[in-house]
């Protein structure tokens, strides 16, 4: 059975539709990516999953069951904005938050120390949150979301404000949690993180779910429109090939935009007939491009 199933979930605030019928499923040990521009409805969707706000229509099922208070301890939530007590010591407040999740104080303390150690900030245990840098606060926030080893982890902009080294550190942790069987819903603006972590994604745009499904399949739905060509000698006359829209000379070769996939084959044959080809690649669209295209198109 799927761990988390959203079916046609609809939410309206006053006279504004915040989420207009979103559906997706997440399995155990899977990271699901929610993409979308600001205000697209990602946070609202997450809050509905967490039971913070009720959906107006549709259903959200957890292991086949509807929401109940008993689920509270199974949730781990990393909100988009820092949500910590600024004036309370890190160790204390993490312990408090862990206890609210049903952990015993002594167990919580051990876990907290383990995670702080792992993130390379054991000295922060006795510091107040307001004394920490933004990145370190984010680490503390991250610990608060996972310290009780939740079944469902909801992460809103998990890696914002972190340097590349720490992003890597947290990313590894997220992968580990996934491998340990957590069901993770993850939102971000950084497409490369999604490409690395998520199998399935949804793109939200203005409250609508415009793209949904397996990342690879989504890629394949979008036509391959770019060809990269590197050759030993000069190649001429590519512009004349049927289906070629635009040719751009790069440092290492040619970037060719095509309007139909058949043109790629013609380009290769054309190049081989003139000189030796060192590199030829039909490029799948990056998620970034897909995102910009779907969101951009719908913008018009």
């Amino acid at each position: 059975m799927k761990r988390l199933v959203l079916q046609n979930v609809f939410k309206q605030y006053a006279d504004k539709v915040a989420v207009n019928g979103i559906s997706f499923e997440v399995e155990q040990g899977e990271i699901y990516g929610l993409l979308g521009a600001n205000g697209a409805g990602k946070t609202t969707t997450m809050r509905m999953i967490l039971g913070l706000i009720y959906h107006d229509k549709g259903s959200i099922l957890y292991n086949g069951q509807t929401y109940s208070k008993a689920l509270l301890n199974d949730f781990g939530y990393l909100p988009e904005e820092r949500g910590l007590y600024p004036k309370i010591k890190v160790g204390e407040q993490l312990n408090y938050l862990a206890q609210l999740k049903g952990m015993k104080a002594s167990d919580a303390d051990k876990e907290i120390k383990y995670w702080l150690e792992r993130f390379g900030v054991p000295e922060n245990y006795n510091k107040k949150v307001e004394e920490l840098s933004k990145g370190n606060q984010q680490k503390i926030q991250f610990v608060s979301a996972i310290v009780h080893r939740p079944t469902y982890i909801i992460m809103d902009e998990a890696f914002s404000g972190l340097d590349p080294v720490n992003v890597e550190l947290l990313k590894e942790t997220v992968k580990e949690l996934r491998d340990n069987g957590s069901t993770i819903v993850f939102s971000t603006h950084r497409m490369e993180h999604v490409e690395e972590l998520c199998k399935n994604i949804s793109i939200l745009h203005k409250s609508n779910q415009v793209v949904k499904g397996n990342l690879k399949e989504i890629r394949n739905q979008f036509p391959k429109e770019k060809v990269f060509l590197a050759t030993a000698g000069q190649v001429t006359g590519i512009e004349a090939i049927n289906g070629v829209e635009h040719v751009k000379q790069n440092e290492n070769g040619l970037e060719i935009k095509i309007s139909k996939e058949k043109a790629a084959k013609d380009i290769l044959q054309h190049a081989i007939s003139q000189t030796e080809v060192t590199h030829f690649e039909i490029k799948a669209p990056t998620l970034n491009e897909i995102f910009i295209r779907t969101v951009g198109e719908n913008n018009e």
Binding site: R47, I53, L72, P79, G83, L84, L97, L100
Partner: protein
């Protein structure tokens, strides 16, 4: 629920260890200690244990007789003045000798007698370094007045019997009328009740104002620091609200117990004990029901105000907007406090009777009626019932506002927006 306990503990421990709490408690404890010592200080500085010595000399028989009479009336135990006779040395006059006595520090002032009138009373002049020694002068005046009356009565030929009857003091006893079979409240009981009620009203007001504001500020702070978003995914809003209120309540109780302990310690210090027993405060005269009802109203009032403060705190997102949002609560609690304080002398007025049934105000005002008038038990129960129903309604509304409010950011929502959002919760 287990979580409420965690929230209570966290709220309580964080507050009780905070510098602001420790400092304010300490400052208050010092103020209380000073307050308890005031009677002692007054006694110490006024030095009234020693009577003021006033010197005089007599120059003839008539003066000697009068001075003797005067001395009888002034030199009693505990009097604030004492006359002392000096022999006038040969060759100096009374005025010069008196001045010398004062400058030598033997006496505080001296009396000069001059011409006697028909009733055997001389013109008296009191001379001292301090010009405005009115207490001494008025005491002398009163004493001389008595002597004058005695002299006139004596010369009028009235019998001793009649004189005694004339001077017997009149006593007015006051006792409260009771409607039941019990006796009404005596002066003593009313006195001690009044003190207790004063205390309870002030404590209730302070407790509500300080902890109410703190609760509201805490909620707003959790909201603005967004920690609320994490909290609501861990603990139900109701549990977090009641945990917070209970934690604050324990804090207030801790503070009160500290203050009461400070008072008791101070009162039982040996040098205070003596003086305070002289003030005639008799705790055994205290009616336990006043205290019990007082505590019930205290808890109820505290709880009622706290839930509303928490709800108001949950509506605003920034601490700057908080003052404005809690204004109505501040005004209501001020109204209750002032009605009670200004009516303490007239606990039977219509204002008190009516407002003792109005929730929000009744915790303050009903105490007056219970302690100072003879109130029927059903009246108390009706007032309590109204109060409890109000609490129930307010808890239901506050819980909803709280649940909705904690996730609403941006500008303070209007009533309409809040209502819509609350409806969305069902």
């Amino acid at each position: 629920m287990n979580n409420i306990g965690t929230v209570i503990k966290f709220t309580f421990l964080n507050k009780v260890r905070s510098k602001s709490f420790l400092i304010s408690t300490l400052v208050f404890a010092i103020i209380i200690s000073i307050g308890v010592h005031i009677p002692f200080f007054i006694k110490m500085f006024s030095g009234d244990s020693e009577a003021k010595l006033i010197g005089y000399v007599v120059q003839n028989e008539q003066e000697a007789a009068f001075a003797n009479q005067l001395e009888q009336y002034t030199n009693y135990d505990g009097s604030s003045i004492a006359l002392k006779k000096y022999e006038l040395p040969a060759g100096s006059n009374a005025d010069q000798f008196g001045t010398k006595l004062v400058t030598d520090g033997d006496v505080r002032g001296y009396i000069i007698f001059s011409e006697f009138d028909n009733n055997g009373i001389p013109a008296v002049t009191y001379k001292s370094e301090a010009l405005g020694d009115y207490t001494t002068v008025s005491q002398l005046e009163q004493t001389i007045q008595i002597i004058k009356q005695q002299n006139i009565i004596a010369s009028s030929g009235l019998s001793n019997d009649i004189i005694e009857q004339l001077s017997a003091p009149v006593v007015v006893n006051s006792l409260q009328i009771s409607f039941g079979s019990e006796e009404g409240l005596s002066e003593d009981e009313r006195g001690i009740n009044m003190w207790i009620i004063y205390g309870l009203i002030i404590v209730l007001f302070m407790g509500i104002m300080i902890s109410g504001q703190t609760i509201a500020a805490e909620v707003t702070a959790e909201k603005s620091s967004r920690v609320m978003e994490v909290l609501v995914t861990s603990v139900s809003p109701l549990a977090s609200m009641f945990g917070k209120i209970t934690g604050m309540f324990l804090l207030v109780v801790t503070q009160l117990v500290t203050y009461i302990a400070v008072v008791i310690i101070n009162v039982s210090l040996p040098h205070n004990n003596e003086i305070l027993s002289g003030l005639n405060i008799n705790f055994s005269a205290l009616d336990p029901f006043v205290l019990i009802y007082g505590l019930i109203y205290f808890f109820a009032g505290f709880f009622l105000f706290s839930v509303l403060y928490a709800a108001l705190g949950s509506i605003v997102s920034r601490t700057e907007d908080l003052g404005q949002a809690v204004m109505p609560m501040t005004i209501i609690s001020l109204a209750g406090f002032y009605i009670a304080m200004f009516s303490i002398a007239t606990p039977e007025s219509t204002l008190v009777t009516v407002s003792s049934y109005i929730p929000f105000v009744s915790p303050f005002v009903m105490l007056l009626r219970i302690g100072l008038t003879n109130i029927a038990t059903w009246e108390i129960l009706v007032s309590l019932a109204i109060l409890f129903v109000t609490i129930y309604v307010c808890v239901a509304i506050s819980a909803r506002i709280y649940r909705t409010g904690v996730l609403m950011y941006g500008k303070r929502p209007s009533l309409k927006e809040l209502y819509k959002a609350m409806k969305a919760y069902k």
